[in-house]
Symmetry: C2
């Protein structure tokens, strides 16, 4: 046993990689975003490296200029079900929106994924911050930030009731007596709230993990409170060690204030590892990628994020002085603030800012040798900035291969990372307990009169 903090590692998967120009490299397959075999190989690589989990972001809208980079993606719960069949241990975390789903459907899909993966499902709970998505779901405007989080609170509450609606021992399988299940151990949720009315029990016995691991990734005030109340793992974008330390301490404190054990809320900053055999090789790879960015695409997107015209963003000038406050943003608040803060703090030109965002969309880039990257991860962990990392390879599959084959062994040698899985479920990997069903007093029997043949 070592006194050192063991890290948790999640692989954030995205088509040809997180660098927006990665698809232009000779090695990259531009059709990777719709190719299940690409993702199956990535999941196997993550499992070879004994990573805790793989993860997909998601939004129910076509989010980027299709000229710029691979656009569109396979729906994550469906894709991860396929990937589950090709792996045995690695966790499988899908993003899904509480604003544009119904709890009964989504709770069931995650319980299904948990069953068929043998207890490896996780849900990254998002409220979906784009007008594009709203306009695909009968709305003309993006629902307000606060309102989206209120709905998310109730959505997670109802989902937990559904996941807990079957006792773990509800299935009797008594062939002799002809009793398959015990209706007294299946509990209709009878939820009647502000956003949702859900009467019945889930149409699925309780899953191996009881509930999927809950993940959260928004860093606004509302987002942090939501994470502190519900999340078991938090993905976050932090540019500097000091910012990451502040975020880490703040989130753990919030969790404590909500009565939770802060050790059961794992904080994983996103990091983009740009790795070379020498530092010079790593820097050359970074430069090669940055030179493949087409700045006009990126400037258009930056202008939309900042609510200004592209002509207000000359490539070799700095950001305009009179940008809106975060309070005025109803979309992705924490992302907005991260970009503006980064540009102002480092006095970046628009062109430089685009380069920094294009590499990892505002996440921290570590460029160097495997040893340098491993040391940087250790430093952040020791400085109270991270329980682990959300690893965002700039190029896929090669960037995950090099991380798994060259960085992970160093972390293992330093006693920072498991050499093999201790358990079988995602909760096992993150050291999280299996939730016991919460029972609101009820009469305890299914109301059969509500069923129709």
């Amino acid at each position: 046993m070592t006194g050192k903090r063991m890290l948790h590692l999640n692989a954030f998967l995205m088509s040809t990689g997180h660098h927006e120009a990665s698809w232009r490299l000779p090695e990259s397959d531009p059709a990777a975003n719709t190719d299940v075999r690409h993702y199956v190989e990535l999941a196997r690589t993550a499992e070879r490296g004994r990573l805790d989990s793989v993860f997909f972001a998601d939004s129910p809208a076509l989010f980027s200029d299709v000229g710029r980079r691979p656009a569109g993606s396979l729906e994550p719960t469906v894709l991860l079900a396929a990937m589950a069949m090709a792996t045995e241990r690695v966790g499988l975390i899908a993003t899904a929106s509480t604003t544009y789903n119904e709890p009964y459907n989504l709770a069931r899909r995650f319980a299904s994924l948990d069953h068929l993966s043998g207890g490896r499902a996780g849900w990254n709970v998002v409220t979906t911050a784009t007008l594009d998505a709203a306009r695909n779901f009968n709305l003309d405007e993006l629902p307000g930030h606060r309102e989206r989080y209120r709905r998310a609170e109730e959505f997670v509450e109802v989902s937990a009731k559904l996941w807990d609606s079957w006792d773990d021992d509800a299935v009797l399988a008594d062939k002799d007596a002809g009793r398959w299940g015990d209706a007294a151990r299946v509990h209709p949720v009878e939820h009647a709230g502000r956003h949702f009315s859900v009467a019945g029990a889930l149409n699925l016995p309780r899953s191996p993990q009881g509930r999927p691991v809950l993940v959260q990734a928004g860093s606004s005030e509302d987002g942090r409170d939501f994470a502190a109340r519900h999340a078991e793992a938090v993905f976050t974008a932090q540019q500097t060690l000091a910012d990451a330390q502040d975020f880490y301490a703040d989130l753990k404190n919030r969790a404590r204030r909500f009565g939770r054990d802060p050790a059961l809320v794992k904080v994983l900053p996103g990091i983009v590892p740009v790795i070379g055999g020498t530092e010079a090789e790593a820097l050359a790879l970074e430069r090669e990628l940055d030179e493949l960015i087409r700045p006009e695409y990126a400037r258009d997107q930056l202008a939309r994020t900042l609510r200004v015209a592209p002509s207000d963003l000359p490539l070799d000038g700095q950001l305009p002085a009179d940008l809106p406050d975060e309070d005025e943003i109803e979309g992705a608040k924490s992302r907005y603030t991260l970009i503006v803060t980064l540009a102002r703090r480092e006095r970046l030109t628009v062109r430089e800012l685009i380069g920094r965002l294009g590499g990892g969309r505002g996440h921290r880039t570590f460029t160097g040798t495997p040893d340098q990257v491993a040391a940087a991860l250790e430093e952040w962990a020791d400085a109270g900035a991270a329980d682990g990392f959300n690893v965002m390879p700039p190029v896929l599959p090669s960037g995950l291969d090099v991380f798994v084959d060259q960085v992970v062994p160093l972390l293992q040698d330093r006693g920072r990372f498991r050499r093999d899985y201790d358990g079988t479920t995602l909760r096992d990997h993150y050291g999280l307990p299996r939730p016991t069903p919460v029972r609101v007093p009820l009469d305890g029997s299914l109301d059969d009169s509500q069923e129709i043949a």
Copy 2:
């Protein structure tokens, strides 16, 4: 080449089989309903038999008394994604509700399944006829039958627009020029209708089949019209050859009236094959299963379907004379009528009716040797009652094994069934064309101003 009609065969999968007591047999695994390995084996068996497809029914509610039989099921789109990875050719048809989903989410899941299976996805479109489901989605009452079908019409229309929103050649993958896709070949759907407003294009390039195969299974007036307008395959429950002939002719006529080629609407009655080495063995298996039914469970469910009290249904008496007309039923109209017609025509006691429904829920049972079953299928096909069959084994996996290993070879020998797959997609198997995108005149470019970074 033979002039005989080649059959289409779909395997309707359900936990331990379609007979409600199948789970009580010594050979059955009572946990099969949550075991992906069980379903993977069934899909492989179907593929070994060169069947067109496998299929799951579904409802977003806990539908049966949990004491009676295996209750709850893995969500079909997620489950079929897993099964896709273990098979290469067999089609994968999932049921999903138009009443309790949003088109953007569901169209995307089916397109995702189509991508990751290499073009094998099918969607059984249902409107979901139970109050139980309504009460899981914020409603106190079941929406009316007509209203559900109106929503289904628009749901399918929007879904088709989404599946067609990317031209087949929209992905350029031009690394040199730095142009991944051509925005002029990606078309926002801009749908604004009675039930849905959906602005954007799908967030996924067009899938191998263009659109999943559309299947329909309701046989009410509204259901038949819906099928005649949209369905490419129709699953139906018909007890007698005469009824099946009437249904077949009626559906083909309706399709013709809607301007469609009736040959492109495949009609597949459900059949429950109870197969033995001799007729006596088959009858013994049927009797063994029927004797394992607990009639009190089945009577409670029958009472709910018929809107009467269980005490109105003495096991050895006939159905009450004063049951409601189909017009008064807002739930599953055609199922209601099928049950009442069956009981009255054959003057069945409640106990006898329960036996008939317990074996296949009102679908036609063929009990006999493989030769007798194959002959019965040929007879229905030659008599203009079927383009193929929805095969509902009473016991799984053994009932599918015996069908594939003993009935299919006879159909092949008689020139009624393929000896190998001719193509790779579900459309190939059913002889259906790949749809060309329908283009409403538009300005043809993505409205970038709607995107937010």
